[in-house]
Symmetry: C2
Subunit: 145 residues, 2 copies
DNA sequence: AAATAATAGTTCGCATAGAAACTATTTCCA
DNA sequence: TGGAAATAGTTTCTATGCGAACTATTATTT
């Protein structure tokens, strides 16, 4: 039995690899990765968020978020500030530069998503999104962040 | 606008992270990762395959496959053999040990997939698999392997 | 209040991932 | 046939991604 063909888990993993690669390729010009964009996006309209909360939003463990914050801070897209009410917490603040990059990349995100409407009907797309959201909600909380 | 919530691309990526983590956790006991299992699985019933063909099956670039082959060979799950008719080609052969590990892990793969039937109805699952396969087929060929 | 547990981040080590540049081989074609 | 183009893998460098162990801080318990 070959599971890469028949297992839904592996199918999702495999498909996601192609998705992320498409996004990474689009973003490369702006010197940012798809995962880094997800961090900036989580901060949009929030002002600032604790690292752990960002991790929950984009499903990444603590060490991964630390590394992402390092690189984003080095490039001036975000700023680390220790919270005053709970000094264990480090909040990530979006800088003006980070906000600008996010705005510049919006059309690319929309384009990649639009590409999907060429492959799937509106109904198929809606159904898939609903199913993925159900799985996502089910998995949420299993994260050691 | 927050795209991690609204973009289908990011939704797939995020969901896949939770899937792969679930699979990795199940496999950790046997000292193998989900991605390494995918390589063994690609070889099951094939005897041997060129590295590049394995890459196409599981959507990974050439350098990633090289690294995977290194680690799998070190652990004795596969063997590298240069092809005699085209000496550029390196074929990966599944060893008895590799076959055994694959067989031992089958129940875990089935269990993770079974878990999904608790979340989605049979129709939803079928629809999602069809959609993912369409996207997958569309993306196939964009790989630099 | 002192000891303990819980929580937020970081660090370390290892396993993916991919772009770019390289070697070795084969194919193509003028 | 001989040189250019294409192909298969590898190497190097950088960026995720996660388990385990660590520090610092806060909450809990007795």
């Amino acid at each position: 039995m070959n599971y890469i063909k028949h297992s839904t888990g592996f199918l999702v993993v495999r498909t996601a690899r192609s998705m992320r690669k498409a996004l990474d390729t689009e973003f490369a010009e702006k010197g940012i990765t798809a995962t880094q964009f997800m961090v900036l996006d989580a901060l949009m309209g929030q002002g600032a968020l604790p690292l752990s909360e960002i991790g929950r939003k984009i499903y990444l463990d603590k060490p991964a978020i630390t590394g992402l914050a390092d690189r984003l801070e080095k490039d001036g897209f975000v700023e680390r500030r220790r919270s005053s009410d709970d000094r264990r917490v480090v909040k990530l603040h979006l800088t003006a530069k980070g906000e600008t990059v996010h705005r510049e990349l919006e059309p690319l995100v929309i384009a990649v998503d639009q590409d999907l409407t060429q492959i799937l009907s509106a109904d198929e797309l809606t159904a898939m999104r609903n199913s993925l959201n159900k799985i996502w909600k089910h998995a949420d909380g299993n994260l050691d962040a």
